[in-house]
Symmetry: C2
């Protein structure tokens, strides 16, 4: 993960809709989710969803595969993990106070992830 890739990924993540997309898809793992179901879960119009999905895909955070009529989107673990790793590596720098703040958030009980997969139609923060 170099700087330009990290920038592209951060830029993609820095949007409400796209952050919600990632948070919806992470719990689905490699199985992913078809575009139509994502649209329903987040209440997005087709073109708008497509725009944001392709932004995330171009940033290396998602992968897409066609299965019959559907296009299944899933998180690219290397892209997402690499982005977080870049921040840990370049902006955290083993600084104890920053690491402590990472850890504090890590115990945030509001984490959606810990409660397993997000059911369609319930993906609101």
């Amino acid at each position: 993960m170099d700087r330009s890739k990290a920038l592209a990924a951060l830029s993609a993540l820095a949007h409400e809709t796209r952050l919600d997309l990632v948070r919806l898809l992470v719990p689905q793992g490699a199985a992913g989710m078809p575009a139509g179901q994502i649209a329903q879960a987040l209440g997005l119009a087709g073109p708008r969803l497509s725009f944001h999905l392709s932004a995330l895909e171009q940033a290396g955070l998602l992968t897409a595969r066609r299965v019959a009529r559907n296009v299944i989107y899933s998180v690219d673990p290397a892209g997402l993990g690499g982005t977080i790793g870049y921040l840990m590596n370049h902006c955290c720098c083993q600084d104890p106070t920053i690491l402590a703040a990472c850890g504090d958030s890590h115990h945030d009980p509001s984490s959606a992830c810990r409660q397993g997969a997000v059911a369609p139609g319930t993906a609101k923060t």
Copy 2:
């Protein structure tokens, strides 16, 4: 760290100049760096630097304090750590493949941080 704060922080980080600013300031720790020295290190014009510094400050990633003629900027560990922690918490979700990718990047030998403070004028990626 809630979603809107995390979004603001990600939005601020998703810019070449501002990412460089953070990477320059992290190794300085609480001591920080005066604006003029930052401008010199990154080769930025005054107003441009000021624009980006205040963007980072508004996003909760930097703090500023005046010392005599200088304004000293330093990283806000809670803001930066909280942002990374938010990603760990909401977009990593203990998923082993994502965590592995975080870890891979974490061992990136190109990390500027590990080599200590960045000297003025050498702050290039």
